[in-house]
Amino acid sequence: MSAPKTSGSPTIVATGVSVVIEARAIVDDVSIEIRGGELLALVGPNGAGKSTLLSILSGDVRPTRGSVTIAGHDIRSLRHLELARLRSVLTQENQVSFPFTVNEVVEMGRSPWAKTAGRDDDAGAIAAAVRATDIGHLGERRYTSLSGGEKARVSLARVLAQSAGTVFLDEPTAALDLRHQEDVMRTARALAAEGRAVVVVVHDLSLAGAYADRVALIADGRLESTGTPLEVLTAERVERVYGLPVEVIVTNTRPVILPVRGAFPA
């Protein structure tokens, strides 16, 4: 139950979803499928609607129009606990109100499996999550005393420990140094390799280009383009969407996106 090996079958299907707030479409008629075994990167400029789209796909926000299914169920028909066993979400904000230890916080990720057969995996899932996020040395520390990057990794460990078939990561690399950024993206790849569907919101287009199977570029609430990194992240398209001239270098069949610096007067 913990890791569905149904690689290739769609876990999340969003059909024509829109979110309209005060007559403005934050997300506008987006249809997208996410399959088990793939890493999908959601990219786009600030305010394009990436986080809102992620909230719709993860069942947090009810779309004004359109529908979302997860593992074949209408996402609105599921109870909180049923949904928690199907998908996990790493949010951008990860404050903890009281001084719980790192171990306690990671264990909380297992709570949807309490009183189910899934609890037998508790120890294994926690150990794997701790290993993948390199936080073994933090175990007895208080979460509230950690640095921003450490908190981000512990929160990721909690999300991994949840062992859901679909994993949403909202800017998981934001607070991290170069090495831990790569570690997180490698972890995301490993989750996909286990057959899970992984959706990552990232700002670093090169990071998205290097690790994603598929990139979905969002602009003004619309799905501008979706496909392999090389198909989506062309210089022409990135330039148009971000309003910034860029150069795309291809290494190892993966695009690296660099702003053309000095193109503007200093």
Binding site: E82, R87, V89, T91, P99, M108
Partner: protein, 346 residues
Amino acid sequence: MTRTARGVTLSIVLVVALVVAVLLSAMVGQLAVTPAEIVGSLLRAAGVPNDWAPGDQIIESTLWVVRFPRIVMGLAVGAALAVAGSVMQAIFGNPLAEPGVVGVSSGAALGAAAAIVFGVTALGSWNIALFAFVGGLLATLLVYFVSRANGRTEVVTLLLTGIAINAFAGAGLAFLLFAGDTASREQITFWQLGSLNGSLWREVGIVAPIMIVGLVVAVLLGRQYDLLALGERNARHLGVNVEALRVGSIVLVALLTGVAVAFCGIIAFVGLVVPHVIRMAIGPSHRPLIIASAVGGGALISFADLIARTVVPGADLPIGMLTSLIGGPFFFYLLFRQRKRSGGWA
């Protein structure tokens, strides 16, 4: 010490404190009673004949009519307030949330005072409790919806809301003092100060069951409170029905505070000090925290009441005054520590 070792140590300390507090409370007073007589009297009541039991009828009735109900009432009220404090702190995600500080107690007192002054007698003893519950519930709802924004509690707003509610309830109480007759006035003054004086078994029979039910519910919700510490969104992602949890918890807080206030008045800071000290000792995990807070709250009130009725010979000081005397400086200490750590609450 590991947390387990601390937990065991704390349990022993709390149980010893509780037993000592209860025993001393039964022994000390205008009529001194020996520990042997207390044990003997309890055994006899349990149907075990023994030689320790007091032969003097005055001692026997002092214990059973005056001291025992007062002791049990103290334990029940202390536990109710400490559990209410822990639950409030859990749903607000903030260690400063406390029924007395944010105005739930004064809301409950206003409700209870209204029941007295307007002479509502439809439900007997339950009247005051019901009105106190409604007053406390309204105050809790108000605090909750005013001070929460985007799933977080702003501390400044929380405390300002408390000031506003306390001011409003204070005005209401003042009006009732003005409007009420002499008997009502005395009772209202008693609420504002808080006292266990004159507790009756009949009243204990209302407070204790509600406290026990509240404690059990709070403990059952403990795991969900832990998840709530991650923030509302994260708790929801882990399968917590946050809306149901907070509505249920608000009712729980109002019920526990209301029933305590209805019979003993405003006893502030118990819900602040007790969970805080216990969190420092055994960590924030809510199940052990709530259970230990209930025991600690009972012990604290027992000691405070013992002091209240013995420190000035022949007089019964208001216990609310004593707990505020401890709670005020404790609040200062919390502010001071937070300022040193992170420059104060924003």
